[in-house]
């Protein structure tokens, strides 16, 4: 196309075009930087919220243990606590308790855990000693009655930084293995011969209840996980 003499305009020379291209790239980069900066700030805000919430849950859980409020119905209490945090913060909160002591009933092949209907726990002296009353019979055989919860009875004492566990009684015909977390303390306990009754052993650490805390934001971008050992 030819231009007439009275027509005016700029000629975009090769050099000018080359200067415009990097400038456009810079603009695109600038947009990316702005977007990333905004995202980083939002992520930091979420991370703060999740961190403070997780930290606070740990505090409340330790307080509950200190006040002996987790001995009975720890799962219900912690579930209510998680519900409250969920409602108050809008975060996804899971608080899961797991008791360290449990038995494996050899005759039925079942595992009976503390913190369930198969074990009553009584704190005899706060922060010092506890009694665990296990039941080795399955719930289906209780026949609507109350189980006696004495197969076995474990007496747990805090001795410095360790726990001493004593088998006080086993009033049943079944045999059970007694575990502390995944550590086998005694096998073939009880029966008519009352095997191992009266024996004691010490385990390292004073943890009796382990609480798993998991807090995350609904987008899944930030997560706080921790384990609190209580004893």
């Amino acid at each position: 196309m030819r231009m007439r003499q009275d027509q005016r305009g700029f000629v975009l020379s090769g050099i000018a075009l080359l200067l415009v291209l990097p400038a456009m790239l810079l603009v695109a980069s600038c947009f990316a930087i702005i977007e990333m900066g905004g995202e980083a700030a939002a992520l930091q805000a979420s991370a703060d919220k999740v961190f403070y919430t997780g930290n606070d849950i740990e505090r409340v859980v330790k307080d509950l243990w200190g006040e002996s409020l987790l001995i009975e119905n720890a799962d219900i209490t912690l579930s209510k606590l998680a519900d409250n945090y969920r409602a108050a913060t809008g975060l996804l909160v899971d608080i899961t308790p797991s008791w360290m002591l449990w038995i494996h009933v050899i005759n039925t092949g079942e595992n009976h855990l503390a913190g369930t209907q198969y074990c009553n726990i009584i704190e005899n002296a706060p922060g010092e000693n506890w009694s665990y009353y296990f039941e080795d019979e399955n719930e289906a055989f209780w026949g609507g009655g109350e189980p006696d919860h004495d197969e076995p009875v474990l007496f747990v004492e805090k001795i410095g930084e360790n726990l001493r566990i004593t088998i006080e009684d086993y009033d049943g015909i079944y045999h059970s293995d007694v575990y502390y977390s995944d550590q086998l303390l005694w096998d073939w306990v009880g029966g008519l011969e009352q095997a191992h009754v009266g024996e004691n052993t010490e385990v390292e650490g004073v943890a009796q209840l382990r609480v798993f805390i998991d807090v995350r934001d609904p987008r899944g971008a930030v997560q706080y996980s921790s384990t609190v050992d209580l004893g």
């Binding site: 700029f10 947009f31 702005i34 905004g38 703060d48 849950i57 006040e67 606590l81 108050a88």
Partner: protein, 161 residues
Amino acid sequence: MSFGRDQRGFIFSLDATLAMLVVMIVMAGVVHVSSPELIYGQHGYLRLERHANDALEVMQLSGTLDNIINLLVEGENSLAEELAENELRKILPGEVQFRFLIGDESNPRLDNVYPSVENHAEWYSNFIKAEDIAVATRVSRFPPENVFDSVTLYVWRGAGI
């Protein structure tokens, strides 16, 4: 100035300069429109949120929150309100205003905790109108029933009353 035949270089022509100018103006415009409001706004909110969380943390660690809860349990609501107001006023900077609430918004155990003891209606109006409000929340146990309830601190930037 004249170039010799053996001298090399670019000629920075007038139209190239104009093109550069136009592009730089566009870039400056883009940065001006997008950046300051967004970035400084978000960082301002982040700081506000940290003010709120740190204030609650200080109240927790200093035992003030437990004292407030104990006063509420004993039915001393006005003392609890006074203690919370004084403590938060001490912790938070002067330009940061606050509203402290214990329990549900619909049925609170403690409300009307603002930077000053009086003018609650005005403070509430300021709170509603505030542009950026940061929130910090904790859950506490309330004896003797040992039920859980939320402790919420709202903070915003604004002038005092």
